[in-house]
């Protein structure tokens, strides 16, 4: 049998070289896509939860500005199962990176504790008691391309110190550092106690921090309340793991959802394409099946022969494809892993690789067995004399339509020929539809993440040129030096405060209390209108969702302990705090409170934007560097590019696979129809007309697939992106149809159809009539 398999395989390779190359490359690329999809799926699957488990992360972080606070009551509390022990830390201590100050939480962690032990992804841990070594958060390190062995400068009490990066570690301690979170939260780094002392010898500046694991994580809220009661004045913050998780997974929700969708679509499409290619190959060999039976093979043996032949090819293709996948995967997945703050997955794990083998081989097996089984049943004589094709010829509805439309003869011939095998046409179309859906997924992923980036930070939703944060500089200094500056044409101010609603006290909501000329700053609203009078509010989608409220409703909030009643007049989008955000008037709050409250942030419009840099340095000098000034660049924001790159490259590979599949199908069907082409030529069709009809057949498939694909893709994406939007609290109105891109798909798809049918068309155009008619 093996000899027979080998002989047949060899004969097939020799007689149909191109067909074989196509099948082999479809299988190889498929195995590669399978590999990448599985690895991506594995790394994108609930990454934060996984890291949380793996690092044995605490449920509550408690920090105090009292460096020697005695945590014993907490450590010995009956609800607490494990702790990190007290740790010394420096908050918001800047690292100098690319000339900019980047705030970092620095923790003294000579020995990683049992709880919250970071996972080293690269390099080694700091040596206990050794000076000037640092282990950085993996996502932060990769975001600024810092590698093990690099020197970085840290701002110290007496100037700067040089630290050596000795390792990059993954942690569930804090948010992953990425494009979305970098403006919101600092990164984390770990160093030895002696290094911490060297940076800041004044221990009064230190914080003490402890991480606690609870026996019942659900009660973290009540537990925090009790801790506050026990330490009424000493605590700076208590952070629950749910809050970290919410913010950590925020950017990734999109990544994970898109990657999940993409992997599933990809797997189905690739499976279908394998099925189509191999199935077509087997169907085209009906005559051969008859001959084998005539030569004394039992039907079972014929099936086995075909099966083994394709499995052998599949095995080789899987090996090559997995190899290619493993080569490409790190480059594609690592950026995503940084974004998710997971270590890059172990790509040599045998599990996924075995699954790829299994998937490829079983898709091949099904694709071979079905037609081979049908083939085993057909009459031997019939198979030899007429082959398979003349049995199921029928005139399809579409072909009739082509005739009725009085299309040019060549066009209607092409359409008819394509649809005379309805099953094959349907399979080709389905495969291509999936590819188009995937391409649309990648287009929409791109636009969604762009849209998200645009609304990521709220200052980009306004038309302000500059953002000034007062810090501890008195209000009148800002007023005199900056707001009254002749170059400032307009401004509004903001006081950010956290609050809740009376019914949902566990959900922190960010209130941006505005005053000044905010009406003139073009706030981008999704619904309703901007606030005008005191007592009005514009809220994020997540707030509406939480309160089950609509525009026009009156709702109650508690801002810093004060009950405030607000009428919702509009909705806007902001990613921060996963959409739990409210814009309101500072006057509202002042009235309630009865005292004067000062704004903290100032948004300016400048006479001349080009003067921004010089104004910034001027003002920084005047305030002795005590205020923060950010120039709001109007350039299109960078998006979560890693995701887009990944999906786009996978989409491109899909397109290549589809092209190969289209070509293979087209080649098979022109081979089967060689006799028809002979007859058509005898009837006076020129070679060019024959070739054209083949190309038109292929274009027909492509255009139908495009239309169906766009319809399905858009419906799917609409539903999907709405879900994404609701998940991240941004609202359901994320979805935009990019008709421009859709229009561009048409020529691209037609081009793909032409490219993949060029060789089959040439082959049939050059076919010798006499040879074709002799074929019997």
């Amino acid at each position: 049998m093996l000899v027979a398999v080998w002989r047949k395989l060899w004969a097939d390779i020799k007689s149909h070289k191109l067909q074989f190359v196509l099948i082999a490359s479809v299988l190889t690329l498929s195995a590669m896509l399978f590999t990448i999809s599985l690895l991506v799926m594995g790394s994108a699957h609930e990454p934060w939860e996984r890291i949380f488990e793996e690092t044995n992360a605490p449920h509550i972080w408690i920090s105090s500005h009292q460096y020697d606070l005695d945590f014993t009551p907490m450590i010995e509390h009956p609800e607490v199962s494990e702790t990190t022990g007290g740790m010394a830390a420096l908050a918001n201590n800047p690292l100098m990176i690319e000339g900019e100050k980047r705030p970092v939480y620095l923790y003294a962690m000579d020995d990683p504790p049992q709880v919250a032990h970071p996972i080293l992804a690269e390099g080694r841990w700091i040596l206990s008691g050794v000076l000037d070594e640092i282990v950085l958060d993996y996502s932060f390190g990769h975001f600024y391309s810092l590698n093990v062995g690099d020197e970085i400068k840290v701002l110290a009490a007496d100037g700067t110190r040089d630290l050596e990066v000795v390792g990059l570690a993954v942690t569930a301690h804090w948010f992953p550092y990425n494009e979305v979170t970098k403006d919101i939260a600092p990164a984390v780094g770990y160093l030895s106690q002696v290094t911490l002392e060297a940076i800041q010898p004044d221990m009064e500046q230190w914080y003490s921090v402890i991480g606690l694991r609870l026996k019942q994580p659900e009660i973290s809220k009540e537990f925090i309340d009790r801790v506050y009661e026990a330490f009424p004045t000493q605590l700076t913050s208590a952070i629950e793991w749910q809050w970290v998780e919410q913010n950590a997974t925020f950017a990734n929700t999109i990544n994970v959802m898109f990657m999940g969708l993409f992997s599933v679509l990809g797997l189905i499409a690739v499976g279908l394409i394998i099925f189509n290619t191999i199935g077509g190959q087997v169907l085209s060999q009906y005559q051969e099946i008859g001959l084998l039976k005539a030569a004394g093979f039992k039907p079972g043996q014929v099936t086995l022969l075909f099966l083994l032949e394709h499995l052998v090819v599949g095995l080789l293709a899987a090996v090559v494809g997995i190899g290619l996948g493993l080569m490409l995967a790190p480059g594609l997945i690592s950026p995503l892993a940084e974004n998710l703050n997971t270590p890059p997955p172990d790509i040599f794990a045998p599990g996924p690789l075995l699954i790829v083998f299994f998937l490829v081989e079983s898709a091949i097996a099904i694709a071979t067995l079905l037609p081979a089984w049908r083939g085993g049943k057909i009459n031997t004589v019939q198979a030899i004399t007429v082959g398979y094709q003349s049995q199921d010829y029928r005139v399809s509805g579409l072909a009739h339509l082509a005739t009725r439309l009085c299309l040019p003869t060549v066009v209607s011939l092409g359409v008819k020929d394509t649809f005379s095998k309805p099953l094959r046409a349907a399979m080709s179309i389905t495969g291509m539809v999936l590819t188009i859906v995937i391409v649309i997924t990648s287009i929409e992923a791109q636009s969604t993440s762009k849209e998200l980036a645009k609304n990521r930070v709220y200052d980009q939703g306004t038309s302000a040129d500059m953002k000034v944060v007062r810090n501890f500089v008195p209000e009148e200094v800002i007023r005199n030096e900056i707001l009254n500056h002749p170059d400032v044409t307009r401004f509004y101010t903001e006081l950010p405060l956290f609050g809740q609603t009376p019914d949902y006290s566990e959900q922190p909501i960010l209130f941006r209390l505005l005053s000044g000329a905010y009406q003139d700053f073009n706030f981008q609203l999704k619904e309703g209108r901007m606030i005008k009078a005191p007592g009005e509010a514009v809220v994020g989608y997540a707030v509406l969702d939480l309160l089950d409220a609509k525009i026009g409703n009156q709702v109650e909030f508690i801002i810093e302990g004060t009950l405030v009643e607000l009428t919702i007049v509009g909705r806007y989008m902001e990613s921060f705090n996963t959409g739990f955000v409210v814009l309101s008037n500072l006057e509202t709050y002042k009235e309630k409170l009865g005292i004067e409250v000062q704004p903290l942030v100032y948004y300016l419009r400048l006479e001349d934007f080009t003067a921004a840099e010089s104004l910034r340095s001027e003002w920084l000098t005047e305030t002795k560097d005590l205020i923060s000034i950010k120039i709001i660049k109007k350039e299109p924001p960078t998006s979560t590019a890693q995701l887009v790159d990944l999906i786009t490259s996978l989409g491109l590979i899909m397109v290549v696979v589809t092209g190969a599949n289209l070509m293979s199908t087209s080649l098979l069907s022109v081979r089967e129809r060689s006799r028809d082409f002979g007859i058509q030529k005898a009837l006076g069709l020129t070679p060019a007309q024959i070739g054209l009809s083949v190309i038109i057949g292929s274009i027909t498939i492509a255009v139908i697939s495009l239309l169906v694909g766009i319809a399905i893709g858009l419906l799917l994406m609409q539903e999907f992106i709405q879900q994404v939007g609701i998940q991240i609290g941004a609202g359901p109105d994320f979805f935009f149809i990019h008709w421009g891109y859709m229009m561009m798909l048409l020529p691209l798809v037609v081009l793909l159809a032409i490219a993949s049918s060029l060789w089959p068309a040439y082959w049939s155009a050059r076919l010798k009539v006499v040879d074709a008619l002799r074929y019997e």
């Binding site: 028809d676 008619l773 019997e776």
Partner: protein
Amino acid sequence: METYLLETKQLTKVYRNNGSKVHALQEVDLAVKPGEMVAVMGPSGCGKSTLLHILGGLDNPTSGEVHINGQRLDKMSEAQRAVLRRKQVGFMFQAFNLIGNLSVGDNIELPALVAGLSVRQARKRRDALLEDLGISDKSRNIPAQLSGGERQRVALARALVNQPTILLADEPTGNLDSKTAYEVLRLLRQTHMQGQTILIVTNDPNVASLAQRVVFMRDGRIINETILQERDDTKTLLVELLNLEGG
């Protein structure tokens, strides 16, 4: 000088198969007059089909000339020959060679449409031919649903739809039993009577007896030619038989 519709001069075809040569045609001189019906006979492998294919421009000769209606076929490109075939040549084959995924009606219309006739003209001709050949009711069927005789009648209709200068038929009755074969022959004769020039390749002396002239081939050469007289025995017998069948 007599004008010929079809004329070959020193027509030679050599097939090369991994080193070995097959002389399928050797210096064949053949001429067909307008309205004539010529039969070509000879043993299997003597080059009959090769000759027919070259006459219809399906294949190129190795050397020699082919004139059809005053045009040099052997000097033309494949595309030019295809265009010439549309109007000038109708083909019938032993294996029918209908297009399996087109209905009978479409099979017949196709050459007319390719030749540039309007859909209405094509339909008119198709219906007339279907009527003439007695297969009007089969127009919507696909070839696989027809009997052998019916298929060959469709093939004849298709060959005639463009009113070709010459009809080339390669053993059109080879795949049919004698009764169906007579039916097809009757129709062939009928078209010949209407003035159609026909060149028919056959192994059957009965079929050949329909022709005015029989050309005998062997090993790629024409070895003999016979002009059949109207009173020729076999001929009379067959013609009478055909008349009877036609009722």
